[in-house]
């Protein structure tokens, strides 16, 4: 007890900037990483211009939404291994029903798909909450179910969407340096996330994620809140499926599967704790851009493009190891100081 008191006195809780930096060290780190990777890209690719930015955004958009989806679920204390499969369902629905239609119909269809995503996510959450089967198992099994649904809708890659719809991600409205996809991402995420963080629901969301029992004793309705976090995940997964449609131009029942794994990589790099209740949504999204940029850079520098997956895996493990090492070293240092007197 005495030692603990001494330790807490020795680590001053600085006000203002220092405290902000300490609290958001990881997120700031990922921003720094992004800037570093970006500088590196420009240095090896001197005429980096609007076209490159646009293709980066178009390529990263599905992963960014997948990361946002996974972040919502994980912050709420769960995990959803069916996000890739739900993205595939949204993707093939869009490709099948938007073909040969005009822009208005396409937008209407995408709204319906977003509602469908919310329902699909809620179903995952309801099953996990009601049956009390661990989240990993439920969503792993549900990934089979959603994968099957995607195959039922579209057995092989095909379909299409009106050009105006595709331009939502690839065109640019204001300046060639600001692609529409980036605006779309910012608008959609902030429309959902900002009100959430300001309201009671967001507080409950984080509370349930960080300690279910404590949240329950504080009067938070744990079950509905968990279902809500899955519904939010389903919504972003549907956004991801639509973004995939915009970037590839066709629907494919198997295209979504890799996004489950890359989404988890992105949230871990983006500073969301898998234990729940910690992290934000901007970190994972920036991490999604980093994860898209790094393999592209390596190809530019002449590395075998087939190593892309290896690089992603190694990056994931190394960053998490480094992240785990920092608190460990700090704890050791504190221990040493305590022992010293």
């Amino acid at each position: 007890m005495k030692a603990a008191a001494r330790v807490s006195r020795r680590i001053p809780v600085g006000p203002g900037i220092a405290r902000f930096v300490r609290r958001n060290a990881w997120t700031l780190g990922i921003y720094g990483l992004f800037v570093a990777v970006m500088i590196f890209t420009i240095s090896i690719h001197p005429n980096y211009g609007p076209y490159e930015i646009e293709s980066l955004v178009v390529g990263a958009l599905p992963l960014a939404f997948a990361a946002a989806a996974q972040a919502c679920v994980v912050i709420g204390g769960g995990i959803d291994l069916s996000i890739g499969a739900m993205m595939a369902v949204a993707n093939v629905l869009a490709a099948r029903y938007m073909l040969h239609h005009d822009f208005q119909t396409a937008v209407l269809i995408s709204l319906l798909i977003l509602v469908g995503g919310i329902l699909a996510g809620s179903l995952n959450g309801l099953i996990a909450v009601r049956t009390r089967v661990p989240d990993i198992v439920v969503t792993l099994a549900m990934s089979f179910v959603w994968g099957g649904v995607a195959l039922l809708i579209l057995a092989k890659p095909g379909g299409g969407a009106p050009d105006a719809f595709m331009a939502l991600s690839s065109g640019n409205l204001f300046s060639p340096w600001v692609p529409n996809g980036l605006l779309l991402l910012i608008v959609v995420v902030s429309l959902v996330w900002v009100p959430l963080r300001l309201g009671r629901l967001g507080l409950a969301h984080y509370a349930v994620g960080s300690d279910r029992t404590a949240a329950f004793r504080r009067g938070v309705r744990v079950g509905p809140t968990r279902v809500f976090s899955y519904a939010l995940g389903g919504f972003f997964a549907a956004c991801g499926g639509l973004a995939l449609m915009m970037s590839t131009g066709i629907g494919s029942p198997l295209a979504g599967t890799i996004y489950t794994l890359s989404g988890i990589s992105a949230i871990v790099l983006g500073g969301v704790s898998l234990a729940g209740g910690r992290g934000g949504i901007t970190g994972p999204i920036v991490a999604a851009f980093v994860l898209t940029l790094v393999p592209a850079d390596l190809i530019l520098t002449g590395t075998d493009p087939n190593l892309g997956q290896v690089i992603q895996g190694v990056l994931l493990v190394l960053v998490v190891m480094a992240g785990g090492l920092a608190p460990l070293l700090r704890a050791r240092a504190i221990q040493r100081r305590v022992q010293a007197g």
């Binding site: 198992v137 099994a141 099957g148 649904v149 794994l261 087939n306 290896v310 998490v320």
Partner: protein
């Protein structure tokens, strides 16, 4: 809580439920028999000695990979790299068979050991969460395998070594599959090892309460490390058995085994939070999943529907198990 509620409704059900809670494997065996009965009724004449032998043949890779998964889950971990390891082991064995079967098999098993060791180092020493560590390793393994496959075999498909083919699809006395014998041996070692050896008891202890273990002077990291190595090794063995059974290898061979390897363990009553369960349940779980997919094949269901039903039934079985065993996690 649910037990109390049902107790008010009917006394006999409570007794039955009590029995079931003490022996949850009874429920599993019941489900297995029910599935066999359904096959027997819908397709009369299917169920016979040959069918049983073939079912065990197809269940063997799943049973073996799920053995490793059971051990890892008992320590409160999870290994999501097993599917990649299975594929890698199978592919390495097939592509190296030109240089001799023995060398091919040794290299394939080495793949499993190395991946397991790396997983173990990450989880046990660097304290990376098992989910992330094994997910990352899975990406690395399948990526490296892709590069390897482009380097090693531009001329023609790989060839499954003879020993592996005999192991995977041969039968002793024309009836008992070789892989069943191997599976039986592994199952015996795992079940007896978990019950009788100090290492086996430490696996449960680490999964149940790592802090208490550390205070008792257990080298927890060593137990975890060894467990991941064993899991990687068993995944490689399962990959060999699988490639022998279907007599071929490609780059997505093991992918379909990821969900079943986790599902067999969970259906079999091993808690994903560690410290609870055992391999006997997993064994029945693997058989249930295999019989289930052979039922779908017999009923001639289209692939997407098969996939949907498979996922739904896995959730259902896990839910039934959680209800009867009263395991609230």
């Amino acid at each position: 809580m649910s037990a109390r509620a049902t107790g008010m409704r009917s006394g006999r059900w409570t007794v039955l439920q009590g029995q079931l809670r003490d022996r949850p494997s009874l429920v599993l065996v019941g489900v297995l028999l029910l599935l066999v009965l359904v096959i027997g009724v819908t397709r009369p004449g299917t169920v016979g000695p040959t069918w049983v032998a073939n079912t065990i043949l197809f269940a063997a890779p799943l049973g073996i990979v799920a053995a490793g998964q059971t051990l890892v889950m008992l320590t409160a971990g999870i290994d999501l790299s097993v599917a990649a390891v299975m594929t890698a082991a199978a592919y390495v064995a097939a592509s190296q068979s030109y240089f001799g079967s023995i060398r091919a098999v040794i290299l394939a098993l080495a793949v499993g050991l190395v991946v397991g060791l790396l997983n173990g180092i990450g989880v046990a020493i660097f304290r990376v969460q098992p989910l992330i560590m094994t997910l990352g390793m899975g990406l690395v393994v399948s990526g490296v395998l892709l590069v390897y496959s482009l380097k090693v075999s531009p001329e023609g498909p790989p060839n499954v070594p003879d020993i592996v083919r005999t192991l995977g699809s041969g039968k002793v006395l024309g009836f008992v599959p070789n892989s069943a014998l191997l599976w039986g041996a592994i199952a015996t070692i795992v079940i007896v090892g978990l019950r009788q050896t100090g290492y086996g008891r430490l696996i449960y202890a680490i999964g149940d309460n790592p802090v208490a273990c550390r205070l008792a002077g257990v080298r927890g990291w060593l137990v975890q490390l060894v467990t991941y190595v064993i899991c990687g090794f068993l995944a490689a063995v399962a990959g060999l058995v699988l490639t022998g059974a279907i007599n071929g290898a490609d780059l997505s061979l093991g992918d379909v085994y990821l969900l079943p390897s986790v599902a067999a363990v969970v259906i079999g009553g091993t808690s994903i939070y560690g410290g609870n369960g055992g391999y006997a349940g997993t064994l029945v779980g693997a058989l249930i999943l295999t019989v289930l997919s052979s039922l779908f094949t017999l009923l001639d269901a289209p692939d997407p529907l098969k996939q949907i039903l498979y996922g739904a039934i896995v959730v259902l079985l896990a839910a039934v198990y959680v209800r009867t065993a009263g395991d609230t996690g």
